[in-house]
Amino acid sequence: MTTWIFFLSHRSEILDATLDHLTLVLISMALAIAIAVPLGMLIVQHRHLRSIVLGIASVFQTIPSLALFGFLIPIPFIGGIGRRTAIVALVLYALLPILRNTYVGLTGIDPAILEAAEAMGMTNSQILLRVRFPLALSIILAGIRTATVITIGVATIAAAIGAGGLGTFIFRGVAMVSDAVILAGAIPAALLALLADLFLGLLERRLKVA
């Protein structure tokens, strides 16, 4: 019961934290998409860059999230305490799923379609933008969906470096040994992840070309 009472008495605070959290995730995802999708296109056109780029993105994925936040703090410009550092870390985390799906989607096109496109006199960039990209869109979106769900979760840890969001409640709850306070951060975060997954899943199905 105490959880419910805590929720009610702190609802505006929880709502603010949820909005902060959402902002953090949206900014990070927008940046990650803006970097990973063009990068994915680049490694399709220049195959020799593929293993380097995917390798670097994989390395970021393997660093434990709390450690990554910590590593960034002393770095000038992108580091420090606060939201900016958190966004950098979240972007680095989100890169791999988007990048990998972009690459797989763009290269997994029916060879007959690519042959026809080439034979009709489309240039490489026309094939990329008018054939590969629209046909890969649902797979790219699946990567964005995975990355979003991960980012919503990892963003709770961003509170550790003062970036705010729902993690604030979780860290506070751990310190206070209070389930109610932990849940005030965990439940909205889980709901956000579920909603994002649902919405992006619907979008993904709509963009799918049979």
Binding site: D110, A112, I113, E115, A116, A117, E118, A119, M120, G121, M122, T123, Q126, V131, P134, L135, V209, A210
Partner: protein
């Protein structure tokens, strides 16, 4: 021939001593030392078993591949010196199954090359309608459909219309009817035979089906292991006694021996 003179040809397509092998491994060529002339307005059928090199030959014409040795001349110019994009847009290409862009409507598929060539939209629309009519599809009913909403036969009709869009003088067809059911295939072969006579285009048609070759070809070129082993009109082709020719004509007479038709 003088080796120093710029190569030219009065024919729409000419193969001069062409070999093609993958990754510079000359030991197992896909096409070896092949010379062949395609005359204006004819339908040359490349006949052969799977792996005989016929599709490779087709791809050498629109520079999807470049010869390892020798030259392929299209309208008198070696393909090595021509701009591949310009060359391909002046050559229609129809392939077996799909090949249509699944995310485009029928009209967008047919109008692709004109769109790439920056025709104005009114001209594209009327050209698309004209072509759909030509291949026996009602423009009003089909323009806005997607390839997945078409039958196999309708898809191939759209494929032919798409290849003809920018009115290319040369048309390359790679087993366009092979994946269709026998009834639809015969229907399309007959229609295409009539259409090709009206179009007056130079057509190179790849098939492994001797009936199709006899029906559509003004000449039949038989390929075996990358070599040209026979070149004849359909009438003369049946009288040749090369073993590979006999292998093909034997496949033709099989149903006859069962007394299906005289």
């Amino acid at each position: 021939m003088n080796a120093n003179s710029a190569p030219t040809s009065d024919f729409p397509i000419e193969f001069r001593g062409v070999s093609y092998h993958i990754n510079d491994i000359p030991r197992s060529p896909i096409v070896s030392n092949l010379s062949l002339i395609v005359s204006r307005g004819e339908t040359l059928v490349l006949l052969g078993r799977s792996g005989s090199g016929k599709t490779t030959l087709l791809k050498l014409i629109n520079r999807l591949l470049l010869p390892s040795q020798g030259e392929v001349l299209v309208d008198g110019r070696p393909t090595t010196t021509s701009n591949p994009i310009r060359l391909r847009r002046s050559i229609g290409y129809v392939i077996q199954e799909s090949g249509l862009f699944p995310h485009f409507t029928v009209a967008e598929n047919v109008g692709l090359v004109p769109t790439l060539e920056n025709w104005d939209s009114a001209r594209i629309t009327s050209r698309v309608a004209e072509l759909l009519q030509l291949v026996g599809l009602d423009p009003a009913g089909f323009s806005n459909r997607r390839p997945r909403e078409l039958s196999g036969g309708q898809r191939q009709r759209v494929g032919v219309a798409r290849a003809l869009a920018a009115d290319p003088p040369i048309l390359l067809m790679d087993e366009p009817f092979a994946a269709l059911d026998p009834v639809t295939r015969t229907e399309l072969q007959r229609e295409f035979s009539a259409l090709s006579r009206r179009l007056n285009k130079t057509i190179v048609f790849v098939t492994h089906d001797i009936r199709e070759a006899l029906l559509l070809g003004s000449r039949i070129a038989l390929l075996e292991s990358g070599r040209l082993i026979a070149l004849a009109s359909p009438r003369d082709f049946l009288t040749l006694d090369h073993p590979e020719v006999l292998a093909f004509t034997a496949s033709l007479s099989l149903p006859l021996s069962k007394g299906v038709s005289p």
